[in-house]
Symmetry: C2
Subunit: 326 residues, 2 copies
């Protein structure tokens, strides 16, 4: 599992910081959080592949967080993509993309679902393809769970900002223990489908004997899943703390330094201090500061220093930074 | 008058070529032709100022020619712009921007006019501001003239492409002769408002005498205006030749090399050869090849070589190339 910062700027791109976007590579798919203009270039530069299953999560409808989405979808339409795509975001997400279908001729030959989060009515409104304005289905949101697979779930929270804004948490399910291939080989089990079952902790029958991979030490004990929380834009609020509780990694906006706390408050953004306090409150293990105002260029390290005084395990985001999560 | 290539790629950006956009600096204002994604960065890098009067001309609604416009307008809204703006393009241009107003909260506190070219009915449909869906006025197009000032006019032509596409010509009016300040000084005329009148070829009264700047050699004889034609995307067609007749500079798409003439024909694009032939047919003085397919990277010079065989005074566009027009 690898996290890649595709853009770490706030509203205005600077030479070495592009507009907000974050990628998570996980089990042959890509999860994207926000789509700032021109993130497609850093997506390619990071070595990410355009024809992978993808889920995209848009935090809110400010230009710097979404205007890279239509160009990315145009690029996918050129590239003969076949892998499925889901895009989550606030109400009107479909209408916004539909206009690109209608006026600019955007096409999607691959399976695509647009899912609007209707937080007021606690519903997901799901559209299939770009052609029909009529939602395919409406689903009641269970707690704040908006997506789930065998391996992970995505939860959201409504946070405080100048427009409707969501934070998202990626929550991995408990994982099988670490696989020790030598143990399987020592028992004479050939590399086959049986290995896959053992890796998943299943008891198998082999040569008439039942083999329990945990007892035999073929897999280690179950490990807890990993959790990553992405704040979007926000001023400190309780809903983020609740969503991000015990995260392994919190990616938090830190538009301003401490000295501009009043500006942050006015604009419903966060300072380095706010980010560090949030990380501490939710019991996060690591913090990444991102969404850095264009006013900080060579002096952006001030944000890091301020945050570290409160939350030492902090990193300052930079474009194309890759973090391997173990 | 300076022309700046802000993007010379076709549909997909590559390391050193961004999506299509061209700027023309002329008498304290900026004219922009097409707005490919992220052109705002090259706009800033070229030293262009965000608070200048601007006219933007969109050739057509393919993503690579327009998706940089909304982010640019968002940036202008952050920058407290006051200078006026006009944006010309095909029908639905207003609706496309209006969706950004309604869903993404795009604001324009500066004077902004959106002008849709309704070529079928030979009308311009003009909207003022981003708030009202009701056109402010509808103007009959005179010939193919869509805009005119004291100094220049803009004409358009409908050209052949896979969607409704316009080419544009910038046509400068005849200019006053070159000003020779020494002559004015020699006659004892102080540097003042009088100089401005002399520069414009006006007869002035000075110390009781009438002074004719042309007769006195203070300004040279009237010079012809300059003409620049921009093709947009197209396959060769007569309407472009008619529009661009006797251009000083033709900026022509050359997506493909000669070897891919069939692909060009299929996709309603041009080859290097098509561009050179068009320059020759219209009697242009100079040709710039742009909109270069991503398949040509280190080997893009092949396009230039092919075109030069037919039209020697050809340049291959590159991003941030600046051309001073005398």
């Amino acid at each position: 599992m690898e996290l890649i910062i595709l853009g770490s700027a706030a509203a205005t791109p600077i030479e070495n910081r592009n507009l907000p976007s974050i990628a998570l590579r996980y089990k042959n798919q890509i999860l994207l959080f926000d789509c700032g203009e021109d993130f497609q270039r850093r997506f390619a530069k990071a070595g990410l592949k355009f024809n992978k299953p993808m889920k995209i999560f848009i935090t809110h409808f400010h230009g710097d967080h979404i205007l890279g989405l239509p160009p990315f979808l145009f690029r996918l339409s050129l590239n003969d993509r076949t892998a499925p795509m889901m895009i989550f975001g606030p109400r009107n997400l479909f209408l916004y993309l539909y206009i690109h279908r209608k006026i600019l001729g955007l096409k999607a030959k691959y399976p695509i679902k647009i899912v609007e989060i209707d937080h007021k009515n606690q519903k997901l409104i799901e559209f299939e393809g770009l052609d029909s304005e009529i939602p395919k289905r409406t689903i009641k949101i269970n707690g704040n769970l908006i997506f789930e697979t065998n391996y992970f779930s995505i939860k959201y929270a409504l946070v405080e900002h100048s427009v409707i804004t969501f934070a998202y948490a990626f929550i991995e399910k408990p994982r099988y223990g670490k696989f020790v291939p030598e143990r399987a080989r020592n028992l004479g089990i050939p590399e086959s489908n049986l290995w896959k079952k053992l890796q998943e902790g299943q008891i198998i029958e082999f040569n008439g004997k039942l083999i329990d991979p945990v007892k035999e030490g073929i897999v280690g004990p179950e490990r807890p899943g990993r959790k990553i929380t992405y704040s979007g834009d926000l001023k400190p609020c309780k809903s983020l703390i609740d969503l991000g509780r015990d995260s392994d990694l919190l990616i938090h906006e830190a538009t301003f330094a401490k000295a501009l706390a009043e500006t942050a408050e006015d604009k419903k953004h966060s300072t380095s201090i706010d980010a560090a306090n949030d990380a501490k409150k939710m019991g996060a293990k690591q913090l990444i500061l991102t969404h850095i105002s264009a006013r900080y260029q060579s002096d952006a390290l001030i944000l890091l220093e301020e945050a570290k005084e409160i939350f030492p395990n902090t990193i300052l985001a930079e474009d194309l930074l890759k973090i391997e999560l173990k």
